[in-house]
């Protein structure tokens, strides 16, 4: 099994190397190399999954190097500390392997169709597949790692390859600006990650998960006992790790990069902004969960950030007309859900939602890609009426949207329900209310987009037609798990998913029916409202006139529609208004702050640059001045000590 794991990891890397050095010139060959390697990895991942489900576990590691030998320090001991690198397979890893390889495989097949424009393959066709392979390799390394160091290395490689993928169409300035923004914003989180890693290393003495968990489990190790600023040092380490997760998973306040990252090719969005890279943050917290568990304060932070992000991003999704951006907001919001679940102490719920979300969100993105490919625009105002023109895409999109909205019996329904139950049991009541409200918002904006795309008459200028089979077949293949994979974690199948992940620790949830019903009602209400506003040929509520009409007041008792009107009014003026305000806050204040910070640094740089006058005597002045400064500083310090 160990060889098998290394092969899963090695195949995409091999594909990358082969494409860069050998098959670069042949576009078809390059794509076949990438897809073939991915297919192999996927089959092996399934095999691993089955073995792990059967109870098998594997660790393969080697001593990478020995730090601080020759017994010069008490902390490191006589023989120094060994730094080990390795990979492992356990349920969490096996699950992620399946998700990553499946989505990656389907995305690569789909890309063979998507990266063709008017019968011409994109000039960077081979490069694209090389990047995809590199990305998948990094992501697989991330989920296979059995220690934080290897995880961090892969983590950074993921960041790097996503930078290349987002900026793939570098001819567009928006694309490379977005790529840079994504890279640098996530790096801000990575500072936290690295600091957390250094703390764990310094106090915990190891970066192996197993070693660290032993200490945290006991709630007695040095990590827990040493304190900094009144908190156990473990708390700060967890906060650091979580900062990394916040960056990668686009949580507030580092979410700003994700919507912009939609400038990349749509298959990229499906792969990295739906199923894999953004899930890495959730995976990181889940992977190091025993550490978080030992310090409840850290879990509260996770829960709060997650819950807030869920509703925050949801409201922003209400007002956007860019198809992919709406989905990006939705992704941020759903990731917030997962964080909330983690904060509420349920890895199973978080990972379950990650699992289902990966499939239905990838499906949504790929379907959106199909639409965008046909209409050559992202703007929903220039779509409409595509139901007849693109029946397959319509069907797959419908399945994805229903799943996202939590329509009963579809995948999203089961996993979202798990999160809501977990939140109702363990989380702050405000956060639970947020989560519930988000259900409504999610359903509304998803279907607003859906109806604007498919219902009514076509408003664009192209002649859209259904995409080729190389794109629709992956859609259909993805639609199946997007619809049905959630059943695995349903009570009907005895919570198979949760049992798989948690093993003996799993307990069946109780008293979840009211929560479930409420969420279903909220979801249906959202869909209904969207239908009323955007789906009907003659809208029951015309969104354009809502604003104007809401000014003319009807009396409370006039008719029962008034409730709806009020609801509309509230929605339009309050929810959409709030959304706009939040979006503006995001754009003005957060972006502004980041830009101002950048400007500040650059300003300081320009100022210091003035020292560099180009005059040699000026430099001499600093030379001798430095001597005098050092001498006097030391003399003064000396005098202070003597007295």
């Amino acid at each position: 099994m160990q060889a098998q794991l290394w092969t899963i990891l090695g195949l995409p890397l091999m594909a990358f190397v082969v494409i860069v050095f050998f098959t670069r010139r042949s576009k078809d060959l390059s794509s076949f190399v990438a897809i073939g390697a991915m297919f192999g990895s996927m089959l092996l991942a399934y095999a691993t999954f089955i073995q792990v489900a059967g109870g098998a576990r594997a660790v393969s590691e080697f001593e990478w190097l020995r730090l601080f030998p020759a017994g010069a320090s008490e902390a490191a001991g006589e023989s120094g500390t060994a730094l080990r690198l390795g990979i492992q397979a356990d349920p969490l890893t096996a699950l992620m392997l399946v998700v990553v390889t499946t989505v990656s495989f389907l995305v690569q097949v789909y890309s063979r169709g998507y990266m063709v424009e008017h019968g011409h393959k994109d000039p960077g066709f081979s490069r694209f597949f090389a990047y995809l392979s590199l990305f998948t390799f990094s992501m697989l390394g991330l989920v296979l790692a059995n220690n934080l160091l290897f995880l961090f290395i892969s983590w950074e490689l993921v960041g790097l390859s996503s930078y290349l993928l987002i900026g793939f169409w570098y001819q567009k300035p928006e694309a490379w600006i977005a790529a840079k923004k994504a890279f640098i914003t996530t790096r801000i989180g990575d500072i936290g990650f690295l600091i957390g890693l250094l703390i764990l290393w310094n106090v915990g003495g190891s970066l192996q998960f197993t070693d660290l968990f032993e200490q945290a489990d006991l709630r007695s190790g040095a990590l827990f006992n040493a304190s900094l600023l009144g908190q156990p040092v473990l708390f700060w380490a967890c906060l650091g790790l979580f900062a990394g997760a916040v960056g990668k998973s686009g949580q507030f306040p580092l979410h700003v990069w994700l919507p912009d990252a939609m400038e990349g090719p749509t298959p990229v969005s499906a792969l990295i902004h739906a199923a894999t890279m953004v899930a890495a943050g959730v995976y990181l917290v889940a992977r190091t969960f025993p550490l978080f568990e030992a310090v409840p304060q850290a879990l509260s932070v996770v829960a709060f950030i997650g819950g807030f992000t869920a509703i925050f991003a949801g409201t922003m999704g209400l007002v956007n007309n860019d198809m992919k951006r709406v989905m990006a907001f939705s992704t941020v919001s759903q990731l917030g859900y997962m964080m909330l679940a983690l904060g509420a102490g349920s890895i199973a719920a978080a990972m379950f939602h990650l699992f289902t979300h990966a499939f239905f969100k990838a499906l949504l993105f790929l379907s959106a890609g199909s639409v965008i490919h046909a209409t050559e625009t992202n703007d929903v105002r220039e779509m409409g009426g595509l139901r007849r023109k693109m029946p397959i895409t319509f069907a797959t999109m419908l399945i994805g949207s229903l799943s996202l909205a939590g329509f009963p019996l579809l995948s999203g329904f089961w996993s979202k329900d798990e999160i809501l139950v977990a939140a109702s049991e363990n989380a702050n009541v405000v956060l639970f209310a947020f989560a519930m409200l988000t259900v409504f918002l999610t359903a509304f904006y998803t279907f607003r987009m859906f109806f604007l795309t498919f219902a009514g008459a076509y408003r664009g200028h192209h002649h859209p037609h259904e995409s080729p089979p190389v794109m629709t077949v992956p859609l259909i293949l993805l639609a199946i798990p997007a619809a049905a994979v959630g059943l695995w974690g349903s009570p009907w199948m005895g919570f198979g998913f949760q049992r798989f992940l948690e093993g003996d620790r799993f307990r069946e949830p109780v008293g979840s029916t009211p929560v479930m019903l409420t969420s279903v009602v909220l979801g249906l209400a959202g869909i209904g409202l969207a239908y009323a506003m955007y789906g009907m040929r003659q809208p029951a509520i015309n969104p354009r006139t809502v604003g104007a009409r809401s000014g003319g007041l009807y009396t409370l008792l006039l008719n029962r529609w008034y409730v709806d009107e009020l609801y509309m009014w509230i929605l339009d003026k309050l929810a959409i208004g709030t959304g706009a305000v939040l979006a503006a806050f995001d754009r003005q204040v957060l972006d502004g702050a980041i830009n101002a910070l950048a400007e500040l640094w650059r300003g300081l740089g320009s100022g210091l640059r003035g020292l560099q006058s180009g005059r040699v005597q000026n430099y001499g002045l600093y030379l001798f001045g430095g001597v005098a400064a050092i001498a006097f500083a030391l003399l003064v310090a000396q005098g202070g000590m003597a007295r």
Binding site: R609, G614, V616
Partner: protein, 110 residues
């Protein structure tokens, strides 16, 4: 210390003299505009150091009595080499720019 003691030079006389030359050299090196003048000022600094070396060699208790003098000799030979290369570069600069004013030699800055 009385006047006669002050008049008879001892270790500290030489040290203070050397330091004074060193500091004057610093001032010259940082304030004269001509590159050759800067080189001259640097020679002044090096001579200040040499005075220190020889004075220590003469006055302090040590098993390596002549180390200071030997050091000074090495400093003199290195100074000669440095002056040779320095003047060569200065002349090359002059040929290209027709000036030796160091504050005008600022193509490289920022």
């Amino acid at each position: 210390m009385n006047a006669s003691q002050f008049l008879v030079p001892g270790l500290q006389h030489f040290l203070v003299f050397g330091s004074l030359l060193f500091s004057l050299g610093i001032y010259g090196a940082l304030s004269r505009r001509n590159a050759i003048a800067i080189l001259l000022s640097i020679e002044l600094m090096l001579n200040g150091v040499n005075i220190l070396m020889v004075a220590f060699s003469r006055y302090i208790t040590t098993t390596q009595e002549l180390a200071g003098q030997v050091f000074a000799m090495f400093i003199i030979s290195v100074a000669a080499a440095e002056a040779a290369v320095g003047l060569a570069i200065v002349i090359a600069v002059y040929r290209q720019r027709r000036t030796l004013q160091v504050d005008q030699l600022d193509l490289l800055k920022g």
